[in-house]
């Protein structure tokens, strides 16, 4: 309690207040006021986050317990925040990027009615609040609260334009897919409670570290796997990734904040947070690596043939998330966090840039109808280009450092992983520059009307772009590899306390590869990437890919038909089953049995009353017969 970090509750408190004020007062407040409250709340959080970061950097970490959230039986779950290196870093990213996107939104969403504008900011603030809970939570349950909370906000924001049925369907899809993951997460939590009677990080990790007998090898394996399944839902990995591209139905800043920069990285955060557990479960790590690389590859291939500017970015996000999981799977937790950070910068930048484009195009998202925009939107063009370069991994930009670190880790684990990873990186470079070239280069292919309206976006939009562009460039320098400059990997140093040093686990990539090997790998990838970039640029600037895809391209354009397969394998059978149960089992069989009893009674009533024939003779006869029976049984059978 004495620790100043007890004040950490301020960080989520501001967005919560912002949510309440905007939510309740959305009808009475003016748009600018809403914007100020919304952004201001995040700014305040950001400021507190910086302060916290400084405290942590100064070596002050703390677990702040506020009140007993749930206490039942032997189980006590406090409402606690854990402030350490990892969470403080994430706090910065969330509030920082979040603030920029809020600012961006004030302009981007300006055309909405005040009421919806307020609603938008309320949701956005609520999202930031939930995300902060997620990363600050001092135990798995608080994390889960945030975890579901961000899912909820994502749902609300995807379906923000609720008049469009398909948007709402996308929102539902996102929420339900997340729920599948959440269930696994929950079961993992139950497992922990079952074995350890606690869910607090400190207690769990120390139990693991001390090799508590309550938690066997299998337990760790199952728990880590379940947590990972949870992560696949939130972070859009195979098989639960399909919601993310659909989530692009939401307003573009939302895509930037939630579906690129922050929420989708929650899975990575969770695994990094539990890295001690994972380090003890090599099988899980392998699974993660494979799923990660597969997702990266799959999403990258799909992105090749997408024509919706946001869809491309969405698949790119999925692909990059796969990358991060690859990093986790190879044990390079810090590389993953590093990539989370850099990705947050450049992907947010790209999304916001695309938002700027869409804004300028009057809502048009199809890149085939764009082209040559660099003439009209200078700032957007440049910042977007920076983003593309960063994501492609051009040396000097942030993406280069993080991606390189991941690939190095993958190489150390297995050259195949490296090979596929590199191939994916090339694909990334290719589709990003296909996107860039188609959009900004060449000549304009839209309608005359649209051309007339093309203009650079206002400052509220360009300012975040610029800031993010700068971050995309310099963001990588917190993690300059050892082989380039000794001791420059400040991120490594900073995060080292939260990463378990388990002997048999895969440690830092740099400690195992010689510097020359690293130079070679880096060189190889750089050369190839640059080549691809140049190829794509030239190819699509001249002749944009506007015709319908055919052959294999069509499969890619249709996203490998995964949605269709899911629909056929899960959704439709479920609906059919529902119909079947309702019509064939519930009504005729179960209810039928119940009613059947009633009918049987009725039927027997109708039959029995025929016994009452009205004839005295038959009455007496029946009486005599029953007497006879009783006598006979009494005397001859029941002796």
């Amino acid at each position: 309690m004495n620790n100043v970090l007890h004040l950490a509750y301020l960080v989520p408190l501001f967005p919560l207040l912002g949510f309440l004020i905007n939510g309740l007062g959305r009808k009475s407040m003016s748009k600018s006021l809403i914007g100020i409250v919304g952004s201001g709340a995040i700014l305040a959080s950001f400021v507190v986050s910086i302060w916290i970061f400084m405290q942590v950097k100064g070596g002050n970490t703390f677990t702040a317990e506020y009140f007993d959230f749930i206490s039942a039986g032997k189980l006590t779950i406090p409402f606690a925040f854990k402030i350490d290196q990892l969470s403080s870093l994430f706090l910065l990213i969330i509030t920082g990027v979040g603030f920029l996107i809020h600012v961006y939104s004030t302009s981007y969403m300006h055309e909405e009615k005040s009421e919806h504008f307020g609603r938008y900011f309320a949701y956005l603030n609520l999202f930031v609040f939930s995300m902060l809970l997620l990363v600050m939570g001092g135990n798995y349950v608080i994390m889960f609260i945030g975890w579901e909370g961000v899912g909820l906000c994502s749902y609300l924001l995807i379906g923000f334009w609720f008049k469009k049925p398909e948007y709402n369907k996308a929102a539902n899809k996102a929420f339900i897919m997340n729920r599948i993951g959440d269930l696994a997460f929950l079961i993992a939590i139950f497992w922990l409670i079952w074995k350890l009677d606690t869910v607090s990080y400190d207690a769990v990790f120390s139990a693991v570290k001390d090799g508590s007998p309550a938690l066997g090898k299998t337990d760790i394996l199952v728990i880590t796997l379940l947590l990972f399944v949870g992560a696949t839902g939130k972070s859009a990995q195979i098989p639960l990734y399909t919601w993310l591209p659909d989530a692009m139905a939401g307003p573009t800043p939302v895509s930037a904040l939630i579906h690129a920069a922050t929420m989708v990285t929650a899975g990575i955060y969770m695994i990094v947070r539990s890295n001690i557990l994972y380090s003890l479960a090599p099988v899980t790590l392998n699974v993660i690596a494979i799923v990660g690389i597969a997702t990266a590859l799959l999403a990258a291939t799909i992105a090749l043939k997408q024509n919706d500017i946001k869809k491309v970015l969405a698949y790119s996000t999925v692909s990059q998330l796969g990358y991060m999981f690859l990093a986790l799977g190879t044990g390079s937790y810090i590389a993953a966090v590093f990539h989370v950070m850099t990705h947050a910068f450049f992907k947010a930048l790209l999304f916001l840039g695309s938002g700027s484009v869409i804004h300028a195009m009057g809502g048009e998202q199809d890149i085939r109808k764009m082209g040559g925009l660099s003439k009209y939107m200078k700032i957007t063009n440049i910042t977007f280009l920076i983003g593309c370069l960063a994501i492609a991994g051009i040396p000097g930009l942030s993406g280069f450092f993080s991606k390189d670190e991941i690939l190095a880790g993958a190489f150390m684990k297995s050259p195949i992983l490296y090979g596929v990873g590199l191939f994916t990186a090339l694909l990334t470079a290719f589709y990003m520059f296909r996107l860039y070239a188609t959009t900004f280069r060449g000549s304009f292919r839209g309608t005359h009307d649209q051309e007339h309206h093309l203009h650079e976006s206002p400052a509220a939009i360009t300012f975040p772009l610029i800031v993010l562009a700068i971050l995309s460039i310099i963001g990588g320098y917190v993690g300059v590899p050892e082989f380039i400059m000794q001791g420059a990997h400040s991120l490594n140093t900073f995060l080292a306390p939260v990463i378990a040093s388990v002997d048999h686990g895969a440690g830092h990539a740099a400690t195992h590869l010689t510097h020359s090997e690293e130079w070679m790998l880096t060189g190889l990838s750089t050369v190839l990437i640059v080549a691809v970039v140049v190829f794509a640029w030239t190819k699509f600037s001249k002749k944009p890919d506007t015709e319908e895809a055919t052959g294999f391209g069509k499969v890619l354009a249709n996203k490998w038909y995964v949605d269709e397969i899911y629909d056929a394998v899960i959704v439709r059978p479920l609906n059919k089953l529902s119909n079947f149960l309702d019509n064939m089992l519930e009504k005729p069989v179960i209810d039928g049995l119940v009613n059947g009893v009633g009918k049987l009674v009725n039927y027997s009533s109708r039959q029995l009353r025929l016994l009452q024939s009205g004839q005295v003779g038959s009455y007496v006869l029946l009486m005599v017969i029953s007497m006879l029976l009783i006598f006979a049984l009494q005397f001859f059978l029941r002796k």
């Binding site: 007993d68 959230f69 039942a72 609720f162 469009k164 539902n172 929420f175 339900i176 139950f190 519930e586």
Partner: protein, 491 residues
């Protein structure tokens, strides 16, 4: 004293309500009475919580070994509070629904409340049975008189169905009674009854069927969707919000501790039924078009979880069940209020005929979404606390080998719940408004008050459930202690 008052106030005011001639007066009288009950209930939770205020015993049918013994234990507190809280909310939210012969309507509602309170408070098996039936009769009349088109058959089916269950229970009670040492119906004698293991087995089913019908548990649930669909919504609220808790309470108070051995040996069987029911109901809910039916099936799924948890005989779980009884009641009443609003405005409950309400009625959609999300146990809503604890209970259960399987299967319902709940929200509120819904009006003040109360409870219980959990601490311990089979078998 508190306990007696909780029964007497609704009983007497209910009887008095028959004599009102004016609808408005009857309505206000009912509201007044329910608020009074609520006040008494809160009094029992706060100021007068010493044992002497909470229980009362006086002679009644002493020749039979029965006495008028009522007491508020932790579980009783929770359920009485639920009943007491629900009624003002119900009356407020249906302030504008008009009923023919309103005086009778409100009188019967209050009588039902008296019966419910009695069930939750009775500490004597015979008294319990009395109230059990007594709660049913007013509901029968309410549904048959003011219900939907098929109300008469449906209510009748419901009535006979539950009646069958309860008379079977009566036999069970009688049988246990003959085995009590002091020939008494008192709950303590029941707990101490020296029942041969052999007869516990069939006795178990006698009791269980009664409670299972009430809750309801698959496959004894078919009365429920029909009954909910056809009842007037105010009654549906009572039925689903409070009345189903009678079954849960029955399991907790009258089955588990009375027949511990049989509960232990049939635990798995019952759990399987509960799980089948949960999944089954959730799947069926997906394709329902009528909102009431959808909610009805969702309720079956939720109650199934409670049943499952009860038979995992685990403290965390039991506490979860008790808390969840309250939370489920609050949530589902909230949902029904919404249904009532929709039905009253548009005259339909078919989701396919609705849509786009969000534009016209933003306040409504907010409340609805919050309540619906609570219904699917989103964290920081009340149901999360309950379901989390219940799942924990099931998972950490030591009485079954299948704890993991049970949890996973039951967990599927979390996903399915999201599917149908979100679909419902989408179909009702989102999309473009159609001819029917474009004339929609938003909430009125009374409805806002009622719904705010519900949302307030949802959030409060979701963020700070400690007070409620503390209430359940002692009672769950004592239930588990009595029904501890290992201990019994050792003896």
């Amino acid at each position: 004293m508190i306990a007696v008052l909780l029964i007497l106030i609704p009983l007497l005011t209910g009887l008095a309500a028959f004599f009102f001639r004016n609808e408005k007066a009857a309505r206000s009288w009912a509201l007044f009475s329910s608020v009074l009950t609520l006040a008494v209930s809160i009094l029992g939770l706060t100021v007068l919580k010493q044992a002497k205020y909470l229980s009362h015993q006086c002679e009644w049918m002493q020749g039979l070994g029965s006495s008028f013994s009522v007491s508020l234990d932790g579980m009783g507190q929770i359920l009485c509070l639920l009943t007491a809280v629900s009624y003002p909310i119900i009356f407020l939210s249906t302030w504008h629904s008009s009923y023919k012969k309103a005086n009778n309507f409100f009188a019967l509602m209050l009588l039902a409340q008296a019966g419910l309170m009695g069930v939750f408070l009775a500490m004597d098996a015979l008294l319990f049975y009395f109230f059990w039936e007594l709660a049913l009769i007013p509901v029968y009349f309410l549904c048959s008189q003011w219900g939907g088109e098929r109300r008469i058959q449906v209510t009748f089916k419901f009535f006979i169905y539950t009646f069958v269950g309860s008379v079977l229970m009566l036999i069970g009670i009688l049988f246990v009674y003959t085995h009590t040492a002091d020939h008494s119906f008192a709950i303590d004698s029941f707990y101490k009854a020296n029942l041969p293991f052999g007869s516990q087995h069939w006795l178990f089913w006698l009791f269980f069927v009664a409670f299972a019908i009430k809750m309801p548990i698959f496959p004894l649930h078919t009365w429920q969707p029909d009954a909910y669909e056809q009842s007037p919504t105010a009654t549906t609220m009572v039925l689903s919000g409070i009345m189903v808790k009678m079954g849960v309470l029955g399991l907790l108070r009258w089955l588990l501790p009375v027949l511990p051995v049989a509960s232990y040996s049939y635990g798995d069987t019952v759990s399987r039924l509960a799980i089948i029911g949960m999944i089954y109901a959730s799947i069926i809910a997906i394709r329902q078009d009528d909102i009431k039916r959808l909610i009805a099936y969702s309720s079956i799924a939720h109650i199934g979880l409670m049943c499952l948890t009860i038979f995992s005989e685990n403290k965390v779980g039991l506490q979860g069940v008790m808390v969840q009884m309250f939370n489920h009641g609050v949530n589902i009443i909230g949902l029904w209020i919404m249904v009532e609003l929709i039905e009253r405005q548009f005259g339909t409950r078919k989701m396919s005929e609705l849509g786009g309400l969000a534009q016209k009625a933003p306040a409504m959609v907010i409340f609805f979404v919050i309540i619906a999300l609570a219904n699917i146990a989103l964290p920081l809503t009340n149901a999360f606390v309950g379901e989390f604890l219940m799942f924990t209970g099931v998972f950490t259960s030591t009485v079954t080998k299948y704890n993991i399987l049970f949890t996973v299967l039951a967990g599927l319902c979390i996903i399915l719940a999201a599917v149908y709940t979100l679909n419902m929200i989408r179909k009702i509120f989102f999309g473009e408004a159609n001819a029917l819904t474009s004339t929609a009006m938003d909430l009125r003040l009374n409805e806002k008050i009622a719904l705010s109360a519900i949302v307030g409870l949802i959030i409060w219980m979701g963020v700070y459930p400690k007070p409620m959990l503390d209430l359940t601490n002692e009672i769950s311990d004592s239930i588990l202690k009595i029904s501890d089979v290992q201990h019994l078998l050792k003896k």
